[in-house]
Symmetry: C2
Subunit: 295 residues, 2 copies
């Protein structure tokens, strides 16, 4: 099967980016969300993405118009899920919400439909048996700013049909993603398996007063040739998200006590990273993007 | 004190790069090594560095000639250490060799001379008391390809005089390094504190058949904007060095058993990385440097 029609369930930050990118690549897309308010918010997100595609992808006005023309929105489950090749689930990371959702669409979807979850935190085996088609279920995970960070991590559970993985891999290529096939279930897929401990280790160097954030970032940028260091990345991720993940992983580890307290203090002071304009750097025009930063 | 004269002890790969960079920046440099054979090898290394400085740093023939004219070599300890502002020790990472060396130079060096160790693995507190001047002793650590990876990690022990740290910081700037001041003793300084677990985590994903090396590298390059991924970096570090470090850190960890066995197999097969022309990639022109790698 070749995927031509896609329903994205959930029109939040990632959901609207997935819908936009998929339609931009020529597929017909439906965004499903629970009510008109959520759908209006989704439509506003789609409008705001135009500027990014114009700036970063050199999209013409015709490209944008065609993209929007290929996207419809609905809060009617039968319209959304009754006759579609692929459902990409991008709803809240709450077990009961996802369970209810998979029960709902299992009663509606055509036998051919593949179900894929964009979940960052759940493994596909945790929901496969909540669907009526475990062999047609896998995770398909996108990164924020999908048009630039164009990886699609594809991860099945032990019961996923290899043909479904192949279909999702082809689909990823067709929507200009680089498919990242994760061959076994792995929390964090590839990217977060590397990034999460990397950011933690960097934060520890600052938390224990071993080196300043700027010193750490300079080191990584010079010796690794990277465009930004780990503290700039934490600003991008957001201090609150970084705190929650690190608390979950290292909350019981005494070695991280000082580090977590310092991150908490920054959050209490309103230094949330890029989103608040202040974090380890001040935005816009953070120091690490200045030409003299590595001098 | 401002550093004008420097003796680099040990004319190996790093020692000769440190000497060359220091002389290139205008300082007067002596390379000390144990016998004429070692000194001849050092001189050959210095000659071979010319091409890198011409290619990467746009050095003129006059720049190269002046650099070589500022470097002398000797195996006589009195000539090397009797009257110099700074000694940079870049000798083998063997406790007894370093201990003997610090005993030797303590009996020769002028009272003003600062001793600095380029050691990757030892902390300055491990040798400070083997010198006659613990307060004038710190680590000063350079990366391979010093002219491009121009960090100088500066790390004192608790007894190092802050003025010595300041002098070394100024010296680092003067020889076109970015000083990376490590404020407390930290094994691995900044760079290896981040890089070592990062490479380990990447190797684990391959060792456990979760993702291929090329998949992992693509992910890091796309989502982090880096010019190379962790497996390309392991090739550069060398599989043997990577194995030794990982064995030391994770040899007792059952989670790394398969990974270590797979690295060992690659070494047994002669796939040592860049140095042997084969590792996770084939050299020259490895796949990750091709334009279609991220397509």
């Amino acid at each position: 099967m070749r995927i031509q029609t896609v329903t994205v369930a959930g029109g939040g930050t990632l959901g609207s980016q997935i819908a936009y990118q998929t339609a931009y690549a020529g597929k017909h897309v439906t965004i499903y969300d629970i009510n008109d308010e959520a759908l209006t918010a989704a439509k506003n997100r789609l409008q705001r993405l135009d500027a990014s595609y114009q700036g970063d992808m050199h999209a013409t006005q015709a490209d944008l118009d065609e993209t929007h023309a290929r996207i419809q929105v609905t809060s009617d489950p039968n319209t959304a899920f009754g006759n579609v090749d692929l459902v990409i689930e991008a709803i809240p990371e709450v077990t009961t919400i996802k369970t209810d959702f998979y029960h709902l669409i299992s009663g509606i979807a055509d036998a051919r439909t593949i179900f894929a979850s964009n979940s960052s935190t759940f493994l596909p085996s945790q929901f496969a048996d909540q669907t009526d088609r475990p062999s047609q279920f896998a995770n398909l995970h996108f990164a924020n700013q999908i048009w630039k960070h164009n990886t699609a991590e594809i991860m099945g559970h032990p019961g996923t049909d290899p043909k479904v993985i192949a279909t999702l891999t082809t689909f990823a290529h067709e929507i200009s993603m680089v498919p990242i096939v994760v061959q076994k279930e792995q929390p964090g897929y590839v990217l977060n398996s590397l990034l999460t401990p990397f950011l933690e280790n960097a934060a520890y160097l600052w938390g224990e007063d071993i080196a300043t954030p700027q010193t750490v970032d300079k080191t990584w940028m010079i010796d690794g040739g990277a465009p930004m260091g780990p503290f700039a990345t934490i600003d991008l991720v957001g201090l609150r998200t970084f705190f929650n993940i690190t608390q979950e992983r290292q909350g019981d580890n005494p070695a991280f006590k000082k580090t977590l307290a310092k991150v908490q203090q920054m959050i209490d002071d309103g230094n949330l990273g890029l989103e608040s304009g202040h974090g380890f750097y001040t935005y816009p025009d953070p120091a690490y993007q200045q030409t003299d930063f590595l001098a």
